[in-house]
Point group: C2
Chain length 412, copies 2
Amino acid sequence: MTLIVQKYGGTSVGTIERIQAVANRVVQSQKQNHQIVVVVSAMSGETDRLLSLAKSLSRMPPPRELDVLLSTGEQVTIALLSMALEEKGYTAVSYTGAQVHIRTDNVHNKARIVDIDSARVQQQLRQGKIVVVAGFQGIDEDGNITTLGRGGSDTTAVAMAAALNADECHIYTDVDGVYTADPRIVQSAKRLRVITYEEMLEMASLGSKVLQIRAVEFARKYNVDLRVLSSFETGSGTLITDEDENMEAALISGIAHNRDEAKLTIVGVPDMPGIASQILGPIADANIEVDMIVQNVGLDNTTDFTFTVNRGDYEKALAILQKTAQSIDAKNVAGDNKIVKISVVGVGMRSHAGIASTMFSALADEGINIQMISTSEIKISVVVAEKYLELGLRTLHTAFALDNGAVTDLIN
Amino acid sequence: MTLIVQKYGGTSVGTIERIQAVANRVVQSQKQNHQIVVVVSAMSGETDRLLSLAKSLSRMPPPRELDVLLSTGEQVTIALLSMALEEKGYTAVSYTGAQVHIRTDNVHNKARIVDIDSARVQQQLRQGKIVVVAGFQGIDEDGNITTLGRGGSDTTAVAMAAALNADECHIYTDVDGVYTADPRIVQSAKRLRVITYEEMLEMASLGSKVLQIRAVEFARKYNVDLRVLSSFETGSGTLITDEDENMEAALISGIAHNRDEAKLTIVGVPDMPGIASQILGPIADANIEVDMIVQNVGLDNTTDFTFTVNRGDYEKALAILQKTAQSIDAKNVAGDNKIVKISVVGVGMRSHAGIASTMFSALADEGINIQMISTSEIKISVVVAEKYLELGLRTLHTAFALDNGAVTDLIN
């Protein structure tokens, strides 16, 4: 007998009919000799409905009370799903975050899980029950209700899987797995059979919004095998797991992209120690997150400093940078919010030279100018003009032989 | 400084605007140097919305999960009311039944409160906070969520008041107090300034649906001063409290009625020991509640046995009784569901003779035939044909001098 934690998001439980469909899936799994813990989100639309009630009372609702309010969303779902399971003749029992002791810190609206007391759940599983747990919520050590922030249900599922030492944690979504590239852009994109945590983290942070980054980090930390599956279709999805030997076949596992960034450059900065923090300090103080950073030293003892931010923060960052430019006596400030970041990701590149040159020459052959480059151990990212998004993705997908199943070991 | 527990029902918190109005009232009370604990119900309509979700999944939803579902209703209200209070610049803190340790037995959907741990609430009050508690819900000793049954929020409020040793418990409703008779029928009905628990219990059980009987019983048991007030108007309402000396002035405090009953008679029953239980046993087995019971022994060694049930159970009771009549060899079965019970209620009647004769002769003078009579220490009830409801009420209201303020001590 194996223990599986399954997580269904808001869309998957968005109507009574869909809750019944989820119940069917859960029952199927239990019949395959699995012990099942189900983690669910609020029905789609419910969190927004509750938020709008709060907003009609207060422009800035007190965070503690917002958590009390929002946590009712998942509580409704656990009760309804348990009813649907019981109606099918199965024994189910629902638990709120508080009831199953999902202990978090006390940072309301974006709490972090500290500990889970799994004894109660284990006892119910031993009795043959299906355990249904509310995602997204917990309690702090004073018994206040907390929430983990949007999408936190993924994290709940992984944390439950870790606490229960589950065999796998299945995340049901509206896609059927992780692809070598966005299939809406690259028709020849293939679903990956398996991918490492690190690769998935790079993919996720680069805009492949299949999974919350936090959940993947959590899974890596506690070595939980994660599987992304479709709520609406059958299939084995994509397994996200630790690196092992037979993965080395693939140089790269996918091409990710993120068009939600904007680029800012401050030109002709006096090149002296501490200048980077003088530039980025005010940006950080304004709670703007910085992604890529590139600095080149020029010949005239000045330097050009370029970084990217979320596109939504572009105007704000530009205004701050213009002030900074005056105070540090820089020559000029420039910006561009019509860019896209394209990245090749793969644990294989650690042991293989030549990935970068393949990437750069493939793009050059198509006349695509590279504006920024940034690398990590398992990723090379470039920033190019947004108009090259589709061409760039397809070019790289072909250049790394992802079209024709060269990485068959990883593609299902 | 006094401590007041205030309870607002679903209609009082039915919209965002009404929640804001409740917040205003709470703030006004706190300004009058009161410590305030507020108990609230689900927004009107919310419980029905949740129930219909459950019913669309299961004809008989599992009681435990129904409680998990329904308890979200009050949880939404406590969060919203706390937000409204904070928005006005006051410090509020919300608690679910579980958080404030409202311990109940484990009878889901109609749990009874066993214990409340008031330490946490007291600590918050000392810090000057307004404490907002979810009505209607608690937890059993295994941490399962329970609910107290519809209207249970009144009971929560009284239990909180008892646990906190509050000065008064205020129940806000859509009427402004308890009247000497139903003001929709008797124009000259007056609002009572004060009434005893026992009188209120008789009034409530007789169909004056201002308060839940359970809440009044709880208040009597723990000697909590209860006050019924209007959510929408100002006024001092009606105080429900222990009997004291200056109440003796009033013979009776009100005329109650209940038209939700039906009468059944089994005629010509052999008069022998145990016959009553043979008749009522099958009725009780069918979960039909019996109210009045009257038995007369006739001359021919047979007896006529009459009782009343809820009008909704009339057909079912009649069918059962017909079976019983055959098995015990009774002559006949008769029934009437066009009846009304009218009662005069007052602690004063304990020490005064003549109440019954005043009542019966006043009714006789108007040609109203009495079908059944039943008495308790502080109440005399008669069953008459339903068509006499209005005439009977007005006649008795006048006969006991309630019209002209003879009981001025009790009428505001």
